[in-house]
Symmetry: C2
DNA sequence: AAGGAGTTTGCACGCGAGTGCAAATTATTC
DNA sequence: GAATAATTTGCACTCGCGTGCAAACTCCTT
C-alpha cells in the first residue's frame, strides 16, 4: 500500500481529476451525476482517474452551488424511548441508501424548537423531520427557524399545522385492532394510559380507542395521563390511580399509549401491587420495541410501519409526494393479553 | 404577526445586513464571531439589523470558505443497544451547546465502514466519532474515507490503531469495582458473559475482570461469548452454557459485558431456567441503561461517564487535547447482587 | 497639538462545484 | 458522402462567507 498520499495536501478536486482524465472539470461533475448527458466511455475514463486520485465530490461545495444539500435534519426532543432508536436506525439507513445525509439535532425542550430548527436551516437542510413529543405544534410555523426550512415534516405524530406534512401510523386503525382483540378476549373494563398531555402534535390513539370502544360497547372508558414517556414515570403515574380500588372497580386491561408506558405499567402491577399479568390484568402497548418481545414482558402491541414511513419521507424529499402519509402498521398479539 | 416575509425570496445574506446596518459585509461577519475585533457599538448595531432582517450566517458557505465545518460525524453500527440512545442524546446535546453540528451515519456492517467514513468526509466533517461494535479496527486507517477525515475518534471502545484517538470508560477500574463487590458478597464462581468476539476495537472488560479476579483469588474464571449485543441473542447464548450443569458446577454470578446482555441473562435465568436472581445466581451489567433501574431488574452495573466523555470529545475537537481520554465511571449496586 | 500605540474597518481573492447555454463532436439519414 | 439530428463537451458566472493585510480611526501621552 502506498501511504505517501496520506500526508500529502489531501484535497483533490474535480480540476485534478479533469487534468488526469484529460477532460474538463464539468465533465468530471457529469461523470458523478446520475442521468447526466455523458458518454459511457468518458464516464469510465473519468471514474478511473478519480479512483486513481482518490477523489470524491465535495458535497458542501455542491450544496452551496446548487439549491439542494441532500441533507435532512432529524430534530428530536425525547431520547428516553427505545423506540426512538428504532426510528433513527431505520431513517438513517434508508436515507443514506437513497443518497441523503442526516443531521441529528437534539431539541432540549419546548422553548428550544425555534433554535433547533434554526441550527438545521443554517446547514441548508432540504427538510427538517421533527420526531418530538414536547414541542408546541402551533408555535412551529412562527418559529424563527421553521420558515427558513424548505420542508417541515412531523414524523410519527399528527400535526394540525397547515405548513407541515405528517408521516404517521394509522392510530385509529391500530386502536380498533387492539380493541377488537381485547373484546374478543373478554376484557370489559379498560383503562387508557396516555402520555403527557402537551401542546405538541398529538397522537390519535387515545381518542381513537375511546371512540371505537364506545362505538362497540356503548361506554367510554376512563383515561389517565402519565407525566413522561418513561417507565419510572409510568409506574409513578399509574399506581395512585389503581391503589385502593375495590376489586370490582379495577380495570381488567391497561391500554397504554406506547410500550414504554406499558412496560412501566407491568413492572408496577407485578412488583408494587403484586398482580399477575395477564391473569389479573392485561396490558397492551404500542410500537413493538425490542423489549416487548422478551419473555419477561411478552407485550401485546402494535408495530408502526417505520420502513414504509421512511420511504414515504424519501418520496416527499424527492418531490414525488406532497400530502400526508398515514400508513397502516401491524398488530402483534403476545402473552400480556 | 407579519407573515409577508414568509413568501419573500428568503435568503438574506451578510450583504443585506451590511446594507441595513451601514457597514461592510466583513463587519457583519465579525459581529457574529466570538472574540472578533469589533467595537461593542458596531456589533449591537449589526445584530439589531440582522434581527430585523431575520439573518443567520450560512454555515455551509462558512465551511467552504474556511477549513472547518463545526460538524462532526457520529458513525455507528449498532442500534440495538438502548445505551446508544443515551450516548447519542448526551453527545448531540453537548456538541450543540458548544457550537457543533452532528451528522449521524448509519454504518451497516463491517464492509461499510469505508463508505460510511467517506460519506462523512464528503460533508467536510472536522472529525468522525465511531461508536461501533462490528467494524474492523485494523482496516480503519486503510479505509478510503478514514484518511480524508481530519480526526478519527473511537468512542466507548479501545482501539490499537495509532491513527485514532480513544475516548472510553476505564474498564479495568470498573471491573475491579465489580469484582470487589462480588467478592464482598461472597460470590466465588463467576462466569463472564462477553459480547461477540470481533475484530473491532475491543473493550477491556473481559481481560480486566479475568486478570483482577485471578489476582485476588488465584483462579481465572470461565467466559463465554454471545453472538450479538441483544437480549434475545443473550438468552440463546447463555442457556446452552448453563443447562444440564450440576448445581455445584453452576456459576453463582454472571458478570456481563453490558446491561443488554445482563437483562437477557436475567430473563433467561428466570423465565427459562426458573432460577431466582439474586438468590440462586447474581447478575451484573455495564452501562446503567434506564431499564437497569426498573423494579423488574434492579441491575447492579457500572455507569460510564458519558458527560465527561462528551466533554473530552469537545476538547479534542477544539485542539485542547491530543491524547486518549480514559475516564472513571461510577459503580452502581442494586438488587441483582 | 503632534506622535504613537492600539483598535476597528474595508477589501481582493479563493473555497469547490452546479446551471444554462453555446460550441464541438458523433451518429443517422437519404 | 453530404446534410441533418442527436449527443457530448466546454465555459462564464454564481453560491455566501473566511483570510490576511492595509487603511482608517480612536485614544492617550507628552
Amino acid at each position: 500500500m502506498d501511504d505517501s498520499r496520506f500526508f500529502e495536501s489531501d484535497t483533490v478536486t474535480a480540476d485534478d481529476v479533469a487534468a488526469e482524465a484529460g477532460v474538463s472539470r464539468w465533465t468530471v461533475a457529469r461523470a458523478f451525476k446520475k442521468d447526466a448527458s455523458i458518454s459511457k466511455k468518458t464516464r469510465q475514463k473519468v471514474l478511473a482517474a478519480a479512483e486513481r486520485l482518490g477523489y470524491a465530490p465535495d458535497l458542501l461545495a455542491a450544496s452551496l452551488a446548487s439549491d439542494r444539500s441532500n441533507l435532512v435534519a432529524i430534530v428530536t426532543d425525547d431520547f428516553s424511548n427505545p423506540h426512538k432508536l428504532v426510528m433513527l436506525e431505520r431513517l438513517t439507513r434508508i436515507l443514506r441508501r437513497e443518497g441523503w445525509g442526516t443531521l441529528l439535532v437534539n431539541m432540549t425542550g419546548d422553548a428550544d424548537a425555534s433554535s433547533a430548527l434554526l441550527a438545521a436551516s443554517q446547514r441548508r437542510v432540504d427538510a427538517a423531520v421533527v420526531i418530538g413529543t414536547r414541542f408546541d405544534d402551533r408555535a412551529l410555523h412562527t418559529a424563527l427557524g421553521a420558515r427558513r426550512v424548505k420542508k417541515l415534516i412531523i414524523f410519527a405524530r399528527l400535526s394540525q399545522n397547515p405548513n407541515t406534512l405528517n408521516i404517521a401510523c394509522d392510530d385509529q386503525a391500530a386502536m380498533r385492532a387492539i380493541a377488537d382483540h381485547l373484546l374478543a378476549r373478554g376484557r370489559r373494563r379498560p383503562l387508557f394510559v396516555a402520555g403527557p398531555d402537551t401542546q405538541s402534535a398529538k397522537l390519535d390513539r387515545k381518542p381513537g380507542f375511546l371512540a371505537y370502544w364506545r362505538e362497540r360497547t356503548g361506554t367510554t372508558p376512563p383515561a389517565i395521563h402519565v407525566s413522561q414517556y418513561d417507565f419510572l414515570c409510568a409506574i409513578d403515574g399509574i399506581l395512585p390511580a389503581l391503589e385502593g380500588r375495590a376489586p370490582a372497580e379495577m380495570p381488567d386491561v391497561l391500554v397504554c399509549e406506547n410500550d414504554i408506558i406499558a412496560i412501566g405499567a407491568m413492572d408496577g402491577l407485578r412488583h408494587r401491587l403484586g398482580l399477575r399479568v395477564p391473569e389479573d390484568i392485561a396490558v397492551t402497548g404500542f410500537d413493538d420495541i425490542p423489549l416487548a418481545a422478551s419473555p419477561a414482558y411478552g407485550l401485546t402491541t402494535y408495530r408502526q410501519p417505520i420502513t414504509n414511513m421512511a420511504e414515504a419521507l424519501v418520496e416527499i424529499l424527492e418531490g414525488k409526494r406532497s400530502g400526508d402519509a398515514i400508513l397502516p402498521g401491524l398488530f402483534v398479539a403476545r402473552s400480556s393479553t
